[in-house]
Amino acid sequence: MDMSTIYEAVVRGDMPATESGVKEAIGEGTAPEVVLNEGLIKAMSEVGTRFEAGDFFVPEMLIAARAMKAGIAILRPLLAEAGIDPVGKVVIGTVSGDLHDIGKNLVALMLEGAGFEVIDVGTDVSADSFVEAVQNEKPQLLGLSALLTTTMPGATEVIQKLNEANIRDSVKVMVGGAPVTQAYADQIEADGYASDAASASKMAKELLGL
């Protein structure tokens, strides 16, 4: 099985072809990490590139991510068996007072597609709950989303609470959402800002030196 078959299936969002390609590759003895890296992750990287270029939009990203997830579901037990860990762990959520989840969900999909383990703590998450999630999950990255100008201060509060809990240095903090800007990220001393799901995936890798 040529990995390009799986790669193409994911890019065009063909879930059945992705599943059958992954099964066939594993059946032929291809190492699961090769299928993951050369088939699924490489394909989602291409999806992100096309999204940034304006060739793909949200529907194409979502349908590719569905295909990717179907492939990962097959690989997951094999990867665990082989002792292969995700490239990093991310806790992600929408800040207090904000129930919007679309942007956050897209970022989570792209992070999964880049090989991260994603712990999605949901929407309208209090600063204390974010701190608790960081203490319990010990992620390398924390993603904070805010769609509303009125809820952006929630990200500031999370960073303050991380400082108060003396765990700020244990985790890189990324922020994003419609009204959020690089200037705002700098102002609240976040480590990274991303304007969309594709650049969030790149920024996550950059922050972790991957």
Partner: protein
């Protein structure tokens, strides 16, 4: 009529300055139809005045309208469409349970009877009052096709439906358009309505949510039918559309949309919008709601922005109307800033 209403309406329907023999309604019509209005029409939050009567206000006042719902933040309820909603405490709630994520269920799905004639006749006293005061009357679209589909299917299923359930998507669009057209016809029968307004957001911060080709293939034909129904009933079609929608404005113009109402014009730039589309569609804009509420904006920034917008748009013998965001508390826009914006627009075309 509810006894509290006259006092409330008195302020809302207060006449706005107009030349002798002319009404607010005529000024708005002239702006929309590029027919040399004597000033820029406006809809500012009270007490700053409005040329419009947006019947959505009456909807809130009509006793027994709408289904009862809990008011506590975080509480859940199911609306008339069978969509599970969580109360946000703002002007909108958050859909969490979607009855048509699988569109094969469409054949057995019961649509709410929104085109029941009784719903419309209840508005008549308010429409008559607004007409007597010379206002331009706008009937709301309570369906909001794209937004409704997001609630019915969920965002993710709606986005992928052109790939996964194309026939079901087309069938749902047909049925929703039929329902909206039936409602427009009912407004037409009641009379005294000059514009039909929908709130359907298609933009993200930097682009449309989907390829414009997908919009054209699946959605545009239904919108076209709805716009034609509005025109057939003597109404303008007004479309609130948030986000960066530059790529679809030509399609909106092509199907006959009369007014595009933008709350985030800075995402595209007023000058660019005016250069590309000025004279072909009327813009009804707020000072950008993401930009204007930021702490760092000075009073001078707000005044300059309103002046720039008026300069950019108000040079096509019409085609521009000014607006306040109607729920300032939802975006934390202070009364002081609202006043500055209104004053700036009055200094730049809204006064006679």
């Amino acid at each position: 009529m509810n006894p509290q209403i006259p006092e409330f309406l008195e302020q809302y329907l207060k006449p706005q300055p107009a030349p002798p023999g002319m009404t607010s309604r005529e000024i708005v019509r002239r702006a929309i139809e590029f027919d040399r209005p004597p000033r820029v029409p406006y809809s500012f939050t009270m007490p700053f005045g409005s040329d419009f009567f947006e019947a959505v206000v009456a909807q809130a006042l009509l006793s027994g309208s709408g289904s009862p719902k809990p008011s506590g933040k975080g509480e859940v309820y199911y609306d008339a469409w069978g969509v599970g909603q969580k109360v946000t405490g703002r002007g909108w709630d958050h859909a969490f349970d979607h009855p048509l994520s699988d569109l094969s269920k469409l054949d057995n799905y019961q649509f709410p009877d929104l085109a029941d004639p009784e719903r419309f006749t209840a508005y008549k006293p308010y429409l008559d009052l607004a007409n007597a005061k010379g206002k331009y009357v706008i009937a709301p679209d309570p369906v909001m096709m794209f937004e409704r589909m997001r609630a019915l299917l969920g965002f993710e299923e709606l986005m992928v439906a052109p790939y996964t359930q194309p026939a079901g998507l087309e069938a749902l669009l047909d049925r929703l358009a039929d329902l909206i057209i039936a409602m427009i016809n009912e407004w037409g029968k009641v009379g005294g309505v000059h514009g039909f307004m929908t709130w359907d957001d298609w933009g993200l911060q930097t682009s449309l949510q989907m390829k414009v080709e997908t919009f054209r293939e699946f959605y545009k034909p239904s919108y076209k039918r709805i716009v034609e129904a509005a025109h057939h009933n003597g109404m303008h079609y007004i479309w609130h559309n948030c986000g960066q929608i530059l790529e679809m404005i030509p399609d909106m113009i092509e199907i006959g949309v009369d007014v595009v109402q933008l709350d985030q014009p800075r995402l595209m730039g007023s000058r660019k919008l005016a250069e590309e589309f000025g004279g072909r569609i009327c813009f009804w804009n707020t000072v950008d709601i993401q930009w204007s509420v930021r702490e760092e904006r000075s009073d001078g920034d707000l005044r300059a922005e309103a002046a720039d917008m008026a300069r950019a748009f108000n040079r096509f013998d019409g085609g521009f109307m000014a607006r306040h965001y109607p729920q300032p508390r939802d975006i934390n826009l202070s009364r002081e800033r609202g006043q500055i914006i209104a004053e700036a627009f009055f200094e730049n075309g809204c006064a006679l």
